[in-house]
Amino acid sequence: MNSEVEAAVADTFREEWGRIVAFLIRMTGDWDLAEECAQDAFAQALVRWPRDGVPRRPGAWLTTTARNRALDRLRRRANEAVKVQEAMVITRLAESGDADDDSGIGDDRLRLIFTCCHPALAMEARVALTLRTVAGLTTNEVARACLVTEPTMAKRLVRAKTKIRNAGIPYRVPPPQLLPERASGVLAVLYLLFNEGYAATAGTDLVRQNLCAEAIRLARLLVRLMPGEPEPEGLLALMLLHHSRRGARTDDAGELVTLEHQDRGRWDASEIAEGVGLLETALRRGRPGPYQVQAAIAACHATARTAADTDWVEIAALYGELARLVPSAVVELNRAVAVAMADGPAAGLVLVDRLEAEGALPGYHLLPATRADLLRRLHRDADAAAAYRQALGLASSDTERRYLERRLAEVSGPR
């Protein structure tokens, strides 16, 4: 096997898988058939391309091969019991030409993405379908990415596809009146994928670590398919700006390094530049949204030369804007941290105490942990120690528990 050809197949796979599957689903309405025929086409490529050379238009070659395969299988099925509907599908598919549309307009993949992320599907089903059908991960890889066994994932995928068929979930890009709401649902799935990958530390399954790259790839696709839409651009910018810090997030021992202590020389400058550029493009469109605001916050961190140079006044204002767009106690807690950095710990503590008085975020360890840090900075050691203990009672990750115990020892130790 020629390694150059193998690389060509792999490249084409990333680019073309979703397009071919999406096209076949539109033509046949049969998700399993679409996936199986796309898979067959790539298997054919691995046999034929080393012998005959890589075709001039690999995508068109694969689409035609997959389409012919689908036709064969439908005709064979139809012979057993000819059904009017199947005959119609065969005619439509046979007349579809090589279905090579590079314009992006009417791209089948956009239909596919919106269908996979339909709100009638459970979130875990949306994630699984997007990874399998749009991104082309194998069922085994999707299972590993979602931390479940392969049979469990296979069942989840079957159930999701059955639900699409039985509940009548439409295969289309939603009409304008539904588009903003549905698009934000798609962005939520992509951001969840990204965060799953971002939370995966070194040593965990590579497939899981690669989820960040996969989410970025899908976000790039969405930006291309929805030109002029600022929120997909904002999300892609946000992902790139977070991803730029990936290499600096853990030390040699694998311990988490907080933002202020990270070696900024290890941040990926090209990802930061691309993220900032994308964010500027998005903001110029004059339609702000939660992902653009979060990207703007990430950009404040990414462009600060040192931790001390961080523009906390701007960040606090941006969190205020975010809280206005999507009110939530977690956003409010982050705003409190930014306010504490901009105006001092006492100002931040007022906001945290208000959250606590409202009974917000019960059981969320970062609320007492934040309160403890602010009290420590105000030298109220006894109060800080009590809050650290409260946070320790709630924190579940070992890394975070170690951090809290270290701080607790600091404020309880002899001075």
């Binding site: 009638a120 039985n166 509940a167 009548g168 979930i169 439409p170 539904l178």
Partner: protein, 114 residues
């Protein structure tokens, strides 16, 4: 595709029909909705309140008849509508327009596939 819309509302809002001779409301908000689903509504009706319900169980070959709804819940089924829609999005859009959606809930259930 066929969808069943189960119209659910707080038990206190599910009334008995007016006595004969007693005037009903002039024009209820349901009329506007019935206009909106003209042509796709196959069937539908308001139901008598759960206090008029009987529950039937057969255990060990014996038919047991009970009063009232199967389970005591605050939200009860007040009525139903069967719609023929192009897809789930259309069914959801129609459910959202139903007047009871403003204070109760409309459960949208696809029919079992044929």
């Amino acid at each position: 595709m066929k969808y069943m819309l189960l119209v659910c509302a707080d038990a206190s809002r599910v009334e008995s029909p007016p006595d004969a001779g007693e005037p009903g409301p002039e024009e209820s908000p349901i009329d506007a909705w019935l206009d909106a689903v003209r042509g796709i509504r196959l069937d539908g009706s308001q139901l008598l309140p759960p206090s008029d319900a009987k529950t039937v169980r057969v255990r060990d070959g014996e038919t047991l008849l009970g009063d009232g709804p199967f389970a005591e819940t605050k939200e009860v089924i007040a009525g139903y509508d069967i719609l023929e829609c192009a897809d789930l999005d259309e069914a959801i859009a129609m459910a959202a327009k139903h007047p009871v959606a403003k204070f109760g809930a409309i459960e949208v259930r696809p029919f079992w596939p044929e």
